[in-house]
Symmetry: C2
Subunit: 163 residues, 2 copies
DNA sequence: ACTTGACGATAAGGTGCATTACATTCACTG
DNA sequence: CAGTGAATGTAATGCACCTTATCGTCAAGT
């Protein structure tokens, strides 16, 4: 993919390339992920939910949404699908009737080893394109970029209630 | 955001961080972009269509979809919205009755300077977090990663007809 | 107790993307 | 010139995400 607008300078050209590059790489990475996850009946979105549940089962939807950094609505729909496919179940919170506790089922629990194995395989496979030094540099640049973007106070989903 | 699975080694940990970092940065960048584009009634998807049309007006939907690397269906829907909002218009191809030529309207044409100015401002603002050397390194790493991912023959949208 | 406000979740509607299946139209080939 | 296959676009369906609006519930202040 190339920049549709002629660069006005080298620096601007580099920045544009990085913008597209980030989008491209992320998109391809997600496609590759999806491809592998589909084989076990999951998608990136559903896989992420299960991954977070595996660390702490029975979280509420609001807590999960915050950790996944998506809106409560989006998460609710994903949970709907996961419930329908039998990967999770909602249990009423005994003390707070507003809440659902989201629990893994044996089905998804048994999937965990394969899930993490598959994801680690994918990462190993594609990140072999870079040396350890480049990997470290990339990680640091991304962290810096993320911090800068967070500084720019971009509205992120579901933040009415101030986090 | 942190890794939901304990790292099994430093290298694995770094790879996982990069995976999340790429997704996070791309997501934040897109949010920031959307925020600014919304002010002129556009989104990232619609903005991209106009950007490519500005280089060559009157392209067919199939050609545009290929350049944007999205499916013909997805592009068709975006064109629907752009047509409804008056930013583009479809004209019948005089020689091939299957095709639509997608043309910019004065409305979107007048938007071009502001569009590119705004996007360049955003890039300047967030990439100032990195030095020129880091920027160059990042660009190179992303390019390498992209090449590697393309090598891994991931099915990308609408490729039945072999590009 | 009773209001008031915060919180958890859902409903409704819209954007963006994908796949599959299909109707047209074209272009090539026998 | 028919006949087949490829190309262009659409319809239908599903996933993932968003915003705004609402409903029930809890918690706190008066």
């Amino acid at each position: 993919m190339s920049d549709p607008q002629a660069a006005t300078s080298d620096e601007a050209g580099a920045r544009i390339e990085i913008g597209y590059g980030l989008a491209d790489v992320t998109h391809l990475l997600r496609m590759a992920f999806d491809q592998r996850m589909r084989k076990m009946g999951l998608t990136t979105a559903t896989w992420r939910v299960i991954a977070y549940l595996s660390r702490q089962d029975g979280q509420t939807q609001a807590a999960l949404a915050q950790r996944l950094e998506i809106s409560r609505v989006a998460l609710g729909e994903t949970i709907d699908r996961l419930e329908k496919s039998g990967h999770v179940e909602r249990r009423a919170d005994p003390v707070d009737r507003r809440k659902w506790q989201v629990h893994m089922t044996p089905l998804s629990h048994d999937l965990l080893p394969l899930m993490f194995e598959t994801s680690e395989e994918l990462r190993a496979e594609c990140f072999q394109a870079l040396s350890d030094a480049e990997l470290a540099q990339l990680q640091s640049s991304l962290a810096r970029l993320k911090a800068r973007l967070l500084d720019m106070k971009i509205e992120t989903p579901d933040e009415e209630s101030g986090q």
